[in-house]
């Protein structure tokens, strides 16, 4: 039992720099289940948590506006980490650590809260049917992912949203098998990018009505990163023409790019390494906060700019995450997540 928590410790203690990729996600996965391209994602089976895999997350981002039109964004994230491989002799739920991050970002402010919980007590957890995930009073729940409510609170913010899907669930990669490196590291990855969202956000001066759209990501794996991969730049964009674009770049000895272009009707096109070009345009405190993102095959040449350049998540595992505005060949809004950077003093 001596290193039962070693993974958690390594995960929490090593932001950005380590030999195991960002946040330990490149650690060896011996004993854990591994994504298998011959085993596609199936619904509703795969709405449930996957305790045999080492790491799993529920990720909801929503670019919103207040009723006066002012833009903002909210983030709701729950991570599950398994402390050791599955073992028939033990209650499996107790060997997990849960970590929640929530944030509200406006042009003026970026408010963050963080929660941790051990598994097995009910303090945090997830179910597939009904579809729910929670840590403390933060919760995402609905009968199915089609209609969910979402809530979270920190010392200086609180939000409650209802989200209704207007399109299908999207499986990335090959039926949900999403490759993450040239060496074959992969994860299971599906999304619901078609949410209409509305609700209230309270920044300490009372709840205010908000609306917009939302994007849910569900992903699980046991070794999603190659050992040399030190971080990623991940985009989820809702274009004003109704199309959605997911694209990411994993930074290692060689960059690994991948993405999914989602049509208005939910049809997808997987974008490969060579089909995506991302270049940082502007850097703020060591973090690129403006990007040029080109998908020549789809005639997309986009300028992606942070709504609030200071959306650094000062959590135990720290990274940049915040709403973005899209301009260029198309307009739109979305979310940008960047890990493995160092937030430098101004």
């Amino acid at each position: 039992m001596t290193d039962r928590r070693a993974f958690m410790i390594a995960m929490l203690a090593a932001p950005a720099a380590s030999a195991q990729g960002f946040a330990g996600l490149g650690s060896d996965a011996e004993g854990f289940a591994m994504p298998d391209p011959k085993r596609p994602i199936l619904f509703p089976r795969d709405h449930a948590p996957h305790p045999g895999y080492r790491v799993e997350w529920w990720y909801l981002t929503a670019p919103l506006i207040f009723d006066d039109g002012t833009p903002l964004g909210i983030q709701w994230t729950l991570f599950r980490f398994a402390l050791d491989p599955p073992n028939l002799l033990q209650d499996s739920s107790a060997r997990h650590v849960w970590m929640g991050h929530a944030a509200v970002t406006t042009t003026e402010t970026h408010r963050v809260a963080e929660r941790f919980a051990r598994g097995g007590t009910g303090q945090a957890g997830a179910t597939g049917q009904p579809f729910s995930a929670w840590i403390d009073d933060w919760r995402m729940s609905g009968q199915t992912p089609d209609a969910i409510t979402l809530s979270a609170a920190g010392t200086d913010f609180r939000y409650e949203l209802g989200l209704t899907a207007t399109g299908p669930l999207i499986r990335h990669g090959r039926d949900g098998y999403s490759v993450k490196s040239g060496l074959g590291q992969a994860s299971y990855y599906y999304s619901q990018p078609f949410y209409n969202a509305s609700g209230t956000v309270d920044l300490g001066d009372g709840p205010r009505a908000v609306s917009g759209h939302g994007w849910l990501d569900r992903e699980w794996s046991s070794q999603p990163l190659a050992k040399d991969q030190q971080g990623w730049d991940w985009f989820s964009l809702a274009l004003d023409d109704g199309r959605k674009l997911m694209a990411f770049r994993l930074r290692g000895q060689e960059d690994f790019r991948s993405g999914t272009l989602i049509g208005v009707d939910g049809r997808t096109r997987t974008l490969t390494n060579d089909e995506i070009a991302v270049t940082p345009e502007q850097t703020h405190r060591g973090v690129p906060v403006e990007w040029r993102l080109r998908i020549p095959a789809a005639d997309l040449d986009l300028l992606v700019s942070a709504l609030n350049r200071d959306a650094w998540m000062e959590t135990r595992v720290s990274y940049w995450e915040g709403p973005v505005t899209v301009s260029g060949s198309e307009t739109g809004r979305g979310y940008l997540e960047m890990t493995g950077y160092r937030w430098q003093p101004e």
């Binding site: 039992m1 001596t2 290193d3 039962r4 928590r5 070693a6 958690m8 410790i9 390594a10 929490l12 203690a13 650590v97 809260a113 941790f116 919980a117 051990r118 007590t121 009910g122 303090q123 929670w134 403390d136 009073d137 609170a153 920190g154 010392t155 200086d156 913010f157 609180r158 309270d202 300490g204 135990r316």
Partner: protein
């Protein structure tokens, strides 16, 4: 040749064993006091640092099950899922394989404030998260991780590990974290079977212990200086007696350089051996005093600090180094001089005019530092200048005092006594400087501690004026129902905020006579009634740090307020602002009132009534108990200070003895004429005692203003610079007289033996002195 010289040196000590013993004792005593105090200090510092994390738990508000209920993970999860941030703890007795019992605290590092985990951050202890953290001095066992941050007698582990080790499934308490999320519900609405338990008010503010340690350090340094006076006196005597043999050695062709080197080597060896002895004595001293210190800290932190002294290199090596370097420093001067010019007739140094002049310059420097200096360093420099100035002016001042006393002398013997005492000042000045320093330090520090005690007692009397204090998590409605018409309820509530750029607490008070009894340092007329307008009373710390005085305007969250009074608030690191109850309502609408004070003429009966009405007894604190606890802790601190007082004076007494023994041979020719004129030996011995007493008394008279000035510097300058509050000066003449008496007694005591020798000297020895050839 070297062997021959060493033999000559050694034969000196063999013939003068008493002198060697004095030298060794002097160095050892000085080292012992220094290392003892340093050892206590090091131990206290280490213990307090590690106690801090344990005390964090004690200091946090928590939920505990009411009588007959249990607290389980279910309650924890229910509260967390309702949005209340709590963290579970469990405590119990844990027996190691070695049989040692530790108090095990189980913590949930995932939900606890990060500084509760050993070493601060639980993430730093990778790979050991499943281990039990034990104090650094625990015998190694598997699954135990020794961690210097764990206090003695304690152990820390993950809560589930702790539950397994303690064989329990329930929890002891849920710590309420601060701040809670926006819109978090009332925890008692979620788990009604739990009660809100406020942390026990720490009886003595932690900042006071810093002051206590400052005292200890000052003591250590002064003790050492006093010790060095002994060393210098003894070495000077040894040199004087050796001059003849050194001269002979030089005429026999021993090079001066070699003699010098060998003498330094010799004294270094003696210093090392004596220093080792001193370190051992210091260890004993610290072990003897540590229980008192530990009880003091125990009371302050509610955590066991340990009563044993660990052998930390920081103090025993430091003590040894101080012994050797200090000895060489104080002995090198006379030694080198002796080897250079082996002259026989060296007159005792006369005090020219420049000594008192230098002293006056030092006094002026001290005054300048007080007036224009800033910071702790300037304050300590002022203290050093004051003491050195006192030492430099001492011979001239004693001389003046003795001259002034002449008209009081009746009869030839009285006149002779005064005259003789005066002429002997140069020979006694080293010892008397030691005595004066010791007395001044004692008067200064004891006045400071005494002022502390009185101010603190008065402060407690005023601040704990109410007879009963009750924790009122659910409001005071049930208590109000129990009160008789003459009993008054005072809500106690405060808001942490920032005022004038300083972290501060805004307190709301109702209009009650209780507050009018509080004495203010400065105030407008009837300051408490200004609170109904825009007035505010601020604490001294806030006034000092933000440079605020009466009439200044401060910005409060709801608008400006005018400072109408400044109030002492000893030992509180935060600033304080008092506004009216109504105004605090405006500033923080709905701010709960976690505690109430009650004024009553019959506290016992009210307590019984409240308990009968279902208010848990642990929520009710009686004023008398709180006061007693606070004062008990202080008394223990004083006990340690008093013990050190006594030891310093003993060392000073020893310095007097050394100087008297050194002067004994030179005394006879001055006394035999009196004997020849018909004064008996016993009377001569009495006169010698009287002379020492007279010198000591004059020294003590001088030490008194010096000590009073020293205490004033400590109270009004050092304390303000270090902690932000000034202690009122409380004169304690009775105690001063006692200290002076003890100082004189110590001197007379040390003069007893030389006097006894004089009383028993053979008449032949005396008559030989009378007829000795020139």
């Amino acid at each position: 040749m070297i062997a021959a010289i060493l033999l000559a040196f050694w034969s000196h000590w063999r013939r003068n064993r008493l002198q060697l013993a004095t030298l060794i004792t002097g160095i050892a005593l000085a080292t012992a006091l220094w290392t003892g105090v340093q050892a206590i200090n090091a131990e206290a510092r280490a213990s307090m640092t590690s106690a801090a994390s344990a005390s964090r738990i004690v200091g946090l508000p928590r939920l505990e099950p009411v009588e007959g209920e249990t607290l389980t993970w279910k309650d924890f999860v229910a509260l967390r899922r309702a949005g209340v941030l709590v963290s579970p703890i469990i405590r119990g007795d844990y027996r190691l394989q070695s049989g040692e019992h530790l108090r095990l605290t189980g913590i949930d590092p995932l939900s606890a404030p990060s500084d509760l985990w050993p070493g601060g951050d639980f993430m730093g202890s990778a790979g050991a998260a499943d281990s039990v953290f034990v104090p650094a001095n625990t015998a190694p066992e598997s699954d135990l991780v020794a961690d210097p941050s764990v206090p003695n007698g304690q152990a820390v582990a993950d809560i589930q590990i702790a539950q397994r080790l303690l064989g329990r499934t329930d929890l002891d308490a849920l710590l309420l974290l601060s701040p809670q999320p926006l819109g978090a519900p009332d925890p008692l609405g979620v788990t009604p079977h739990l009660a809100y338990v406020l942390p026990a008010e720490t009886a003595v503010p932690a900042a006071l212990t810093d002051s206590f340690r400052l005292n200890l350090s000052a003591f250590g340094a002064l003790c050492f200086i006093v010790g060095l006076f002994i060393v210098r006196g003894t070495v000077g005597l040894a040199i004087a007696q050796r001059r003849q043999s050194i001269r002979t050695l030089r005429t026999l062709g021993a090079p001066a350089g070699l003699l010098r080197a060998l003498m330094l080597a010799e004294i270094a060896i003696i210093a090392t051996l004596s220093g080792l002895l001193g370190v051992l004595l210091g260890y004993g001293l610290a072990s003897w005093l540590m229980p008192g210190v530990s009880v003091t800290l125990d009371g302050i932190y509610g955590a066991s600090v340990g009563t044993h002294i660990a052998l930390r290199p920081v103090w025993w090596l430091g003590g040894l180094a101080m012994a050797v370097l200090g000895t060489l420093l104080s002995a090198a001067g006379p030694m080198l001089a002796a080897s250079d010019r082996a002259v026989l007739n060296e007159k005792p140094r006369s005090f020219g005019y420049w000594w008192p002049a230098a002293g006056l310059a030092l006094f002026a420097a001290a005054a300048g530092l007080v007036i224009w200096g800033h910071g702790l360093l300037a304050a300590f420099a002022a203290i050093a200048a004051l003491l050195l100035g006192g030492a430099a002016t001492m011979p001239a001042t004693i001389r003046a005092l003795l001259r002034a006393a002449r008209p009081l002398a009746t009869g030839p013997l009285g006149e002779w006594m005064l005259a003789e005492t005066e002429t002997q000042i140069p020979r006694m000045s080293l010892a008397m400087t030691a005595l004066m320093m010791a007395l001044a330090a004692n008067i200064g520090v004891s006045t400071m501690v005494g002022s502390f005690r009185e101010s603190f007692a008065e402060f407690i009397d005023q601040r704990l004026a109410a007879e009963i204090y009750v924790a009122t998590p659910g409001g005071a409605g049930d208590i109000r129902a129990e009160l008789s018409p003459d009993e008054r309820l005072l809500p106690l509530r405060s808001l942490k905020s920032v005022v004038a750029g300083q972290p501060a607490e805004i307190n709301g008070v109702i209009n009650d006579p209780t507050y009018r009894e509080w004495s203010l340092l400065e105030a407008v007329d009837d300051p408490w009634s200004t609170l109904s307008g825009d007035g505010a009373i601020i604490s001294e710390q806030l006034s000092y740090r933000a440079a605020l005085s009466i009439g200044d305007v401060i910005a409060l969250p709801d608008g400006p307020a005018t400072v109408s009074g400044i109030i002492a608030d000893y030992g509180n690191p935060l600033g304080k602002v008092y506004v009216s109850h109504q105004r605090l309502d405006r500033i923080a609408p709905g701010l709960p009132t976690p505690r109430h004070a009650i004024r009553t003429s019959d506290p016992a009966s009210l307590r019984a009534r409240m308990i009968a009405a279902g208010i848990p007894a642990e929520r009710i604190a009686m004023q008398a108990d709180m006061k007693a606890t606070s004062m008990r802790i202080f008394e223990r601190t004083f006990a340690v200070t008093a013990a050190l007082n006594g030891l310093t004076l003993a060392v000073a007494g020893f310095a007097v003895l050394t100087s008297l023994l050194a002067a004994a041979d030179a005394r006879l020719p001055r006394l035999t004429p009196l004997w020849a004129m018909g004064i008996e030996r016993r009377q001569l011995a009495r006169l010698e005692l009287l002379r020492v007493a007279l010198t000591a008394a004059a020294t003590a008279l001088l030490a008194l203003p010096l000590g009073i000035l020293l205490s004033w510097l400590l109270l009004a300058i050092v304390n303000v610079e270090a902690f932000g509050w000034r202690l009122p000066f409380r004169a304690d003449p009775a105690h001063w007289l006692l200290l002076i008496g003890v100082g004189i007694a110590a001197s007379v005591l040390s003069a007893l033996w030389p006097a006894h020798r004089l009383a028993r000297i053979s008449s032949r020895a005396l008559s030989e002195v009378l007829s000795r050839d020139g």
